[in-house]
Amino acid sequence: MSREDICSSLACSDAVALETLINSLIARGTIANIEMIRPPSTGTIQMQVREPICEERFIVGDALVTIAEVSVNGTLGWAMRLGGDANAAVAAAVADAHIARVGLEGVPELAELISYTQLELNRTEEREWTEIRETIIDFEELD
């Protein structure tokens, strides 16, 4: 799994589960020497869409995000999550730094959370499509 894939998963994982897990890793001493590089800040990111007619970009609006940067034992970590949850953003940044330092196999608990998040996302997708595909208008072949 690439670092970007891990961050994607951390960005979508359950906020409470993530924060609780990181707290317990800190309590156990697995993660230590955390420094705040960029305190969590809630703001907007500009959303550009490329439309298909003229292949032109335009700005559809902004999205609300929270961003944070930390270092864990000197390794930098970063996170951006949708919404305004500062704790979750910091927890994700700590996770990013820690995984960047020790690798995903070095923290099985985090690896588990990440794969569970992936699984849940896929399940939601499947459930959604199973429902929607029933609304496809089915035409008989016109031979």
Binding site: E19, I26, N87
Partner: protein, 293 residues
């Protein structure tokens, strides 16, 4: 930082690490958007009367309710300022009260009703009767910044007319008004030529206030939030109401009426309908001082 110190000061939870989030805010807006208005204002003072576009943001008050004036005030205000806010000349008008509390609440600066004590004066529809000087900035709220809109609606044509100072149609319209009605019927927001170059909309302030903009000692900044424009009249700048040689510019007359509270006939008076002795000063702080001295 030594390793030991890091370990000792290490937080034990994410919540502790995040701590109490303190982002310093002053005057409601983020720094970026204040700088943007400041850049527009610096162009505005250098091109007297020219409408400078800026990226107006949403304020906690509706567009059309002084959001432009408020953005200008918040871009200018510093910790040492004292602000006076009036609406129709009245410090206690509901809109004045509302805007003033937004400014003071978000900055902690002093508020005052006295022109002498104020450095920033935000106003809708009036210029205070008191003399102002180089230490004052007057900030006027502008609902419609385009003085030519009555004669032209097309934005591109309006831009051309201003860029070429082609104001002939404005003169024709004033002339027709005079011929048809015997007087120029424009009541407030009387069009004026600034520094012999741009015609501006004078917010709407009454004609009574227009002569006070000419060669004034103070800087006037105009903010139109909904239409996303700012413009300025620097101190000691010519402001000439458009009129004809044989038609002198007339301010509002009240036919010798006096204020029922202070007895003055030297201020702009407003009327209560259907009553005897029904006039009073629109500038309430000025009126109060007349009574007390």
């Amino acid at each position: 930082m030594t390793l030991e110190a890091t370990v000792n000061s290490s937080p034990t939870t994410i919540a502790e690490l995040v701590g109490h989030r303190t982002t310093e805010t002053f005057a409601l807006r983020d720094e970026e958007s204040k700088r943007e208005i400041r850049r527009a204002l610096l162009q505005a003072v250098c091109i007297p009367g020219y409408q400078v576009p800026f990226g107006s943001r949403e304020m906690p008050v509706a567009r059309g309710w002084g959001s432009g004036g408020l953005q200008v005030t918040l871009a200018c205000v510093g910790a040492d300022d004292a602000v006076k806010v009036i609406d129709q000349g009245d410090d206690e008008g509901v809109n004045a009260v509302n805007l003033r509390r937004l400014v003071t609440m978000s900055t902690g600066i002093d508020e005052t009703t006295e022109v002498d004590e104020a450095t920033l004066i935000q106003s809708r529809h009036r210029i205070p009767e008191d003399d102002m000087n180089e230490n004052h900035i007057l900030i006027l709220q502008v609902p419609v910044p385009e003085p030519l809109r009555g004669i032209e609606r097309d934005i591109r044509e309006l831009a051309r007319m201003h860029s070429e100072a082609d104001y002939s149609r404005m003169w024709v319209s004033l002339y027709e008004d005079k011929v048809r009605n015997g007087v120029i019927t424009q009541s407030t927001g009387y069009p004026c030529l600034v520094a012999s170059r741009y015609i501006v909309a004078t917010t709407p302030i009454p004609r009574w206030d227009i002569p006070r903009l000419h060669q004034s000692k103070f800087l006037t900044l105009f903010g139109a939030g909904r239409e996303k424009r700012v413009y300025a009249i620097p101190p000691y700048t010519d402001v000439e109401p458009l009129t004809f040689e044989d038609v002198p510019f007339e301010v509002e007359s009240a036919d010798g009426a006096t204020c029922r509270l202070c007895g003055s006939s030297e201020s702009f008076l407003v009327e209560m309908p259907g009553k005897q002795e029904s006039w009073s000063c629109s500038d309430t702080a000025w009126c109060r001082r007349q009574r007390n001295t």
